[in-house]
Symmetry: C2
Subunit: 710 residues, 2 copies
């Protein structure tokens, strides 16, 4: 979006509602009422062939008769009229149109017609098929939402109009304010990355919240979010997690990663905070709308109910953030203001009958502790102290302390919370009703403050010669009309990028197998070579531990017979021969590249071997990655715990594994045509790593081929 | 509790408040106000040496002057007076006293004094150190909670008074009613199992909710809950999960199981529903207070917002319960009442502008589908339809359908929900504000309806001779003044209970090792025998793959030198010799018995080998278990996926593993003095299982011994 378009949205001079109506149960009517009901800083033009008289708006029969300047149009007319309207808006100099109407599709041709008209006319489009937009700072409510929005620091972008109304309703009840609420509909023209960038640049926006159903170009979104992320938090609720999993990529390795796993990995990598429910989105909104400072992760808790404190600690143990340890001086200070039975540790249990003064003493002591980054004050309803007095005292004490540490409040019970809500809201203290919500809220502050690992990836580059050689391998495969590399080609590719591979030779016949063995140390491993057999060991296509060349030859002959019988249609192209690697205490890992529908190439690693699918132990990252990110990736796998060594098994050389991940990252960047790359098993022990087998598939592979090769 | 005591609590004829006061900021004052403010079905006696005049209560200067009959006393006087008061209550024939006061401890002697007085006087005590009790059906609010309770079907037992007030506040705002709310305090006399049984028998209680901080006798609680569970759901929120983990059992195997894991396993086994936050407790209370029927697990969703439906499905995929599949006839019916763009599947998206009639048509069609067990109706706030009309229509439609299927509602947005709350409440429809809460609510219905596996365990009994022989082994160890069995003794014990063990011989000297080998097939394994060395392989106390008796002898000699040097203080008692079991594709498991602080003996199993602690893969059950439960236990481990076989690795004989679990279950029952038993590794493959090593520790083991043996 250009600055002109952004200005048209955030500070319009005049807004034209095309399809304005007096019927409040129609979209055009509900929007007109909402437009006029605000305190608009702009003129409102109600456009309809039939007269529409309403206070606060001027009627015009058509677009042609609109006065200038008018910079924002809201369109709520039947779909078939829209392409024509867009053209007329362009002629009037209107640069931005919010299309509420549904019914524009590729199938009926209206969507391409609208986009073409927009291109010709120089009009940008938000929508179609959306609820509209609210810009509270401008008094703009151009939506058919039943609730308006307070002005504040949150930009909320929603791929669902209905959920936007739910958020608006919730926010109104809790005094949470917005810089903008946009129902983004089908995103036919202006898309999410553009909007993220626009609100990233908007000084009135402190944090961007997104309800997301799916991305078509995940990389662009991430680029936009990465830029914004340096300035303000981006929080995403991704819906359709379970469905996404079912729509898993067809390709074999791809099937290991349900795409929600990829969303999660990609978002974490960029530093986007991912929430998993509307409750969590509310929690995040509650704190981020009120607190813009970035605290450390050490939370102190002051509570008049021991149980409530325990529940908060329980939940905190599952989340980013930790319990602060109180300094001895703080404990001494608390000894002076609290009754003898107090907990003498964090959470600070100030006992059920705590009056306002006791809250004051406890809060002062705790906020003064340098080991405390943030404070959660809790109150269970009690008849033995007056809630209003406690709330006032808490607010005054926090203000007097004035050390900028974030303070969150949890007033348990709906009624109890309601009594406290307005006062806390005015004081800028985020209020929650349950310990879980409060602790989640704190964790979003911590997450929003965390520096993403991958802020500036400057990947190390392999020398040009290796890349040129790798390209020659890829081109050779293409020239053969293949998409699947042979094992030898795949290993050669890995070798070029510095991944240790077991030396492997090709042999056309069993006789050649014996010859190949002469160049290696026994015992030997012989495998069948066939573009049609991927899991060779399942059909007896791999024989291990062959003691001498003659045994290897005999094994190759038997293998040939066996496979010809079991898979008569498979093309057999000879054998590969390699020395058998015997590293008794090595762990079997896998590492690879796969292609995700939304994000393109991804890196994966985890426990490997033939049980790789059953183990389902994997970490995911989007390339390129640097060493630190590769470390984090390895650390996420379950098998990484074993790699640290235990009992008499020495630690594995993690650096060698990291090197493989970095090599694969480079490979994916240098050769984007790699759709799938599997190193499995990758043996890892105290000596380093070695790849025993590898498989590479180039893009352009028809799905049926991949399936046949299973 | 006897029926007399239960009656005194649930339907008192007269209630005496000892320590009544007019100061409402004192406990005695707040309780008096609450007592009088209800619609009591009983007389209220305010006892205080000084006159206390308040409407609805009669003042008495002391207990002696109370009129009879009076069956319930509430005590809110300083702790030191309480033992004396209890005696006087007994003389008045009062059988039940709720002690509000804190400050009675073992240290100051007041707690034993109170209990002694109670025993002598025949008075049962609830508390001390509690908030009081509310029995809404009797108009009884003998608590200092700021909120009273509506009458209803939930019994809430809380180990925290403050959390009871939070629940009361929340429930009042949502029209959730209670059969009883009891703050149970320190449970010096009447304990949780007694109360669970009492409310299990109470016909006015539909479900029992418990906030639990800890159990001293977990088995008794489980016995009570198991009985009740057959009649009504029991839901527990267990606090202190993270602390409990830190307070893990000292013993080695015990340390593998943080006790919260044991709570979770035990509760699941009995069919207690465990929730993990106050939000989840609210969700459970919302449905269980309104719905007493037990549905199947297939949920249909009707929503005017596609996004809200997707969020519900996302969460459902993590929970018990599943999405119903609509019958083709249902889809046809829906085609007739919904606009063309509807989802044509469950969730049924009836589009944002859905008026009341569209809800009616959709609900009728869906409730009529035999493949649907329960319905969730959702509404996102919209300006295009009147909420009140939708709510009324939903209620009428559900009533007309009248087929008893549970219906839950989710009105997103606080304001939206508030408009619907009263109407849904009167209609007995549980209302939620977010998709997650609604789906959780449904999942508690499903869980409450699920039959626990372990309802009637009739464990198979080993023959008496084996048990007698096992006891002789145990007694022999005891007579030696030991608590740790030798490897040979442990294996013998397992063998007696039918667990296949590798044949093992004892050898006093390296020379004897060679002799022992003559009786076995090579290769051999030689291990050191020492009560002080538990993890023998860590210090070179295990040598594998010895090809002949001479090699075994030489290995034993070298081992002796090595260990004498590294652990000069360890007592070395010779060697054990066994054939080396070579099962290449066998999985290494562990299985064992440990002792939990709250629940006593527990069974554990999971991935084994030397990495057992690192893998942290374990399932837990309380013995005794039957085959079905053992199957479920095995199924919970991560390694069980590998046991099913994959690629060219054949499936393991699961029945052999199950047999081991059942044998350990019997062992734990027959020999309760076993504090710890470890079978690790237990090799498992297509041939069956075999235990390669075993370790048994009897109870009475001082913790320092266990630690030294690490």
């Amino acid at each position: 979006m250009s600055s002109l378009e952004t200005e048209a949205l955030l500070a319009p001079r005049a807004v034209a509602l095309i399809g304005a109506s007096r019927d409040e149960l129609s979209a055009g009517g509900a929007i007109l009422r909402n437009l006029a009901a605000g305190r608009p800083t702009f003129d409102i033009y109600a456009v309809n062939p039939h007269s529409v008289e309403i206070e606060g708006a001027r009627w015009f029969p058509d677009i042609e008769s609109l006065p200038e300047p008018c910079d924002l149009a809201i369109i709520a007319v039947p779909a078939r009229h829209i392409p024509d309207m867009i053209g007329k808006l362009g002629q009037k100099g209107i640069r931005l149109a919010v299309v509420i109407s549904a019914g524009l599709s590729d199938e009926n041709g209206l969507k391409p017609a609208m986009l073409e008209a927009a291109k010709v006319a120089g009009v940008r489009i938000l929508g179609p098929n959306c609820l509209g937009v609210l810009i509270p700072r401008a008094g703009l409510n151009a939506s058919f939402a039943p609730t308006d929005a307070l002005a504040g620091g949150l930009a909320f972008l929603s791929q669902s109009g209905a959920l936007a109304t739910a958020i608006l309703d919730w926010a109104k009840a809790r005094n949470v304010g917005f810089s903008a609420v946009l129902s983004i509909g089908d995103m036919a023209d202006i898309d999410l990355p553009e909007l993220v960038e626009a609100f990233g640049d908007d000084p009135q926006t402190n944090a961007i919240l997104i309800y997301l159903e799916g991305l078509t170009n995940g990389r662009r979104f991430l680029e936009a979010a990465r830029k914004v992320r340096a300035k303000k938090p981006v929080i995403v609720l991704k819906a359709g997690r379970s469905q996404e999993a079912a729509r898993a990529a067809k390709s074999h390795t791809g099937a290991l990663a349900g795409s929600y796993d990829v969303y999660r990995a990609a978002f974490r990598q960029i530093g986007i905070v991912l929430v998993e429910s509307l409750d969590e989105l509310f929690d995040a909104a509650s704190v981020l709308s009120r607190i813009t400072s970035s605290p450390g992760d050490r939370l102190a808790i002051v509570s008049n109910g021991g149980g409530a404190g325990i529940l908060a600690v329980d939940e905190l143990s599952n989340l980013p953030g930790r319990l602060a340890e109180l300094a001895p001086e703080t404990v001494s200070k608390l000894d002076q203001v609290l009754p003898p039975g107090w907990s003498r540790a964090n959470p600070v249990d100030i006992i059920g009958d705590a009056p306002a003064e006791r809250y004051r003493g406890a809060i002062e002591a705790v906020l003064g502790d340098n080991g405390v980054d943030a404070l959660l004050v809790m109150s269970c309803p009690t008849a033995l102290a007056a809630t209003a007095a406690v709330v006032d005292e808490v607010i005054r004490t926090v203000e007097r302390a004035g050390n900028g540490k974030p303070v969150l409040a949890c007033w348990l019970g709906e009624n109890n919370a309601r009594l406290a809500r307005d006062a806390f809201s005015h004081a800028g203290i985020a209020l929650f009703e349950t310990p879980d919500d409060a602790v989640h809220g704190f964790s979003y502050l911590v997450q929003a403050a965390a520096k993403p690992l991958a802020d500036h990836v400057v990947p190390h580059r392999r020398d040009a010669e290796a890349i040129a050689e790798a390209r020659r391998i890829v081109d050779g495969v293409r020239e053969d009309g293949r998409v699947v590399m042979s094992e030898l080609e795949a290993k050669q590719l890995l070798d070029l990028f510095g991944v240790p591979v077991v030396p492997t030779r090709r042999a056309a016949t069993p006789g050649d197998v014996a010859v190949a063995c002469e160049h290696m140390k026994p015992p030997y491993v012989v495998k069948i070579v066939s573009p049609d057999l991927t899991h060779k060991s399942d059909i007896g296509g791999v024989v291990l531990g062959l003691a001498d060349p003659q045994a290897a030859k005999a094994a190759a002959e038997a293998m040939l017979q066996r496979i010809r019988k079991r898979r008569p249609r498979a093309r057999l192209e000879g054998f590969s021969v390699q020395p058998m690697i015997q590293r008794k205490r090595a762990h079997e890992l896998f590492a690879g590249i796969a292609t995700d529908l939304a994000f393109g190439p991804i890196l994966m690693m985890g426990a490997g071997g033939t049980a790789v699918e059953v183990l389902a132990d994997r970490a995911i990252r989007l390339p390129p990655i640097e060493r630190e990110e590769a470390e984090a990736m390895l650390g996420e796998t379950r098998i990484s715990k074993l790699l640290a060594g235990y009992r008499d098994v020495p630690a594995t050389r993690r650096d060698s594994i990291i090197d493989v991940l970095l090599a694969l990252s480079e490979l994916s960047q240098a050769l984007p045509e790699i759709a799938e790359l599997d190193v499995n098993p990758l043996l890892a022990d105290a000596e380093g790593v070695i790849a025993l087998d590898a498989r590479v598939i180039l893009s352009g592979c028809p799905p049926e081929l991949t399936e046949r090769s299973q």
